[in-house]
């Protein structure tokens, strides 16, 4: 049994990162993720790690690049506008094939947007986290506990792939306090420092070069390798929850906070006899294509995309799999206005009783 605590999602992420081996953080303050750097500012020194509040987002992401090049498990966190500022550095991490954890506790947008929670960064996270056509694995936990479990193992993926990993969670989940069970501290030694790193710890010789600059043929080769890696993710790394899908006539697709509000509504509507289920992507990239593609469309009458952003951003990814075999409806709140139980219940009910022709 692990250790149970009542924690904010943001603090839970920070503690899970430390227990997962994170020993370097650099970031710049922004609501609603400030508890992550605040927590790590005292927690990392306790375990021999380093915390830096950078002079900017750009500086911070490049410090993460430096720490990662030395084989240290490194992370940064921010919210929408700050992630935009870090985009160049994230792209450089991908180019230099460096692992890192990047956490986006998202808020309303575009621009400065709102400091209140929203799921408005799906497209940024999954399609273009920076320039140059790279992807990171994108995890979207829907509770503090799931965030802990994902963050704890984030570097296992990041180091395996030599590629950054993104955890995308909205400000609501970042700020909710709930129970979490914490895993034990991963005891990493100098022997665990990746072979390719520039570290000379443990008597290593200088290993070579970390660079984001390549000649054209090599860069093309790296692009091709990345393409193979993304395909492998689709085979091996998709994480998805299916809820009451066996007989579902309507399928809600929702991730993160939207999935929890939707689940509550689905349970209530099931009591009234409506056959509704839910597909919840836990990895947004790789997207759970197969789950949506292979539905029995002789039974499924409609897909309902519920997100805390307007317009829905996941819709195109869903449509590519549904292939016009069922109408796709959407419901959301946006700009920092929160989804709530009654609103989602009413919206789904209106759709399944035919009151909504917004297909």
């Amino acid at each position: 049994m692990g250790e149970k605590r009542f924690m904010k999602g943001n603090e839970a992420i920070a503690e899970a990162a430390v227990r997962g081996g994170c020993r370097f953080f650099a970031g710049y303050p922004i609501t609603p993720q400030n508890e992550i750097p605040e927590y790590l500012s005292w927690r990392l020194p306790e375990v021999g790690g380093a915390y830096v509040q950078g002079e900017s987002e750009v500086a911070s992401i490049n410090m993460v690049y430096g720490a990662s090049a030395m084989g240290t498990r490194a992370m940064t966190s921010s919210s929408g506008p700050g992630i935009s500022l870090k985009a160049e550095g994230i792209s450089y991490l991908a180019a230099a094939m460096l692992p890192a954890l990047i956490v986006n506790i998202s808020r309303g947008g575009p621009g400065l947007g709102s400091i209140q929670p929203a799921q408005s960064d799906y497209l940024q996270a999954t399609k273009a986290l920076g320039h140059g056509g790279f992807h990171a694995m994108v995890f979207a936990p829907n509770s503090a506990q799931e965030a802990v479990d994902i963050v704890y193992d984030a570097w296992e993926y990041a180091e395996r792939d030599r590629n950054p990993v993104l955890v995308l969670m909205d400000g609501c989940l970042g700020n909710i306090m709930e129970e979490v069970e914490l895993p034990p501290m991963k005891e990493l030694s100098d022997d665990d420092i990746p072979e390719w790193s520039l570290s000379r710890r443990n008597g290593r010789d200088y290993q070579g070069n970390i660079t984001p600059i390549y000649t054209e043929p090599i860069l093309e080769g790296i692009n091709m390798m990345s393409g193979e890696m993304y395909k492998a993710w689709e085979e091996d790394d998709v994480k998805v929850e299916e809820f009451l899908m066996d007989d579902a006539e309507y399928v809600v697709v929702a991730y993160g906070i939207a999935s929890r509000v939707s689940k509550e509504a689905i349970l209530k509507l099931r009591e009234e006899g409506f056959k509704i289920g839910m597909i919840r992507p836990i990895t947004l990239f790789p997207f759970p294509k197969k789950n949506l593609h292979d539905l029995d469309y002789s039974r499924v009458k409609g897909i309902i995309d519920i997100e805390m952003t307007v317009p829905a951003q996941m819709r195109d990814d869903i449509a590519l799999q549904v292939m016009e075999r069922a109408p796709i409806y959407e419901y959301g709140r946006s700009g920092g206005m929160l989804l709530d139980d009654d609103g989602v219940y009413d919206a789904i009910k209106e759709i399944v009783t035919g009151g909504n022709d917004n297909g």
């Binding site: 009542f6 609501c172 700020n175 909710i176 509000v261 509504a265 349970l267």
Partner: protein, 179 residues
Amino acid sequence: MKQSFVFSGSGGQGIMSAGITLAQTAIDMGKHATYLPEYGPEQRGGSAKCTVVISDEPIISPLPKCCDNLIVMNEQAYAKFFEDLKSGGVLLANASRVKEANDRDDVTAILAPVDDIALGLGNPRAANIVLLGVLIGATGVVSREAFVKSLEKKFKAKKPEVLAMNIQALDQGIALGKK
């Protein structure tokens, strides 16, 4: 059984602290709880709101639209949220600041002068503990025993008089809530 609580007032009235302490106490009693704070860029003096959900079962959604219990520390909070209280719910208002709270006849309204009681105990900052006492006395959402344990944890770094005064605040609240 699932119960939702909205606490609201202005920054500095101990709204967030009240919500966290209630949720933590419920968890210590073996229940499940979520706590969601909502506040703007301002701190002291701005509006403060938090939502607590307590249940015997794991909590699915932490975002109820309407609440079973509305606890307001000032008139602005009352005006802003009284429509979000479910029919049959409990309204608990700080009567030291909320002078009229009679817009609804489908809820149980409890008006308790928690600021005045806390002032009488010599510590206006304990108003939120008096308030929780009234809530506990009226609804039994958590036990006095478990809440006292939470207070012991909360004030363990402070002088023993602070804890004693807060327990007194709690008990005066409970007595009032039971009426």
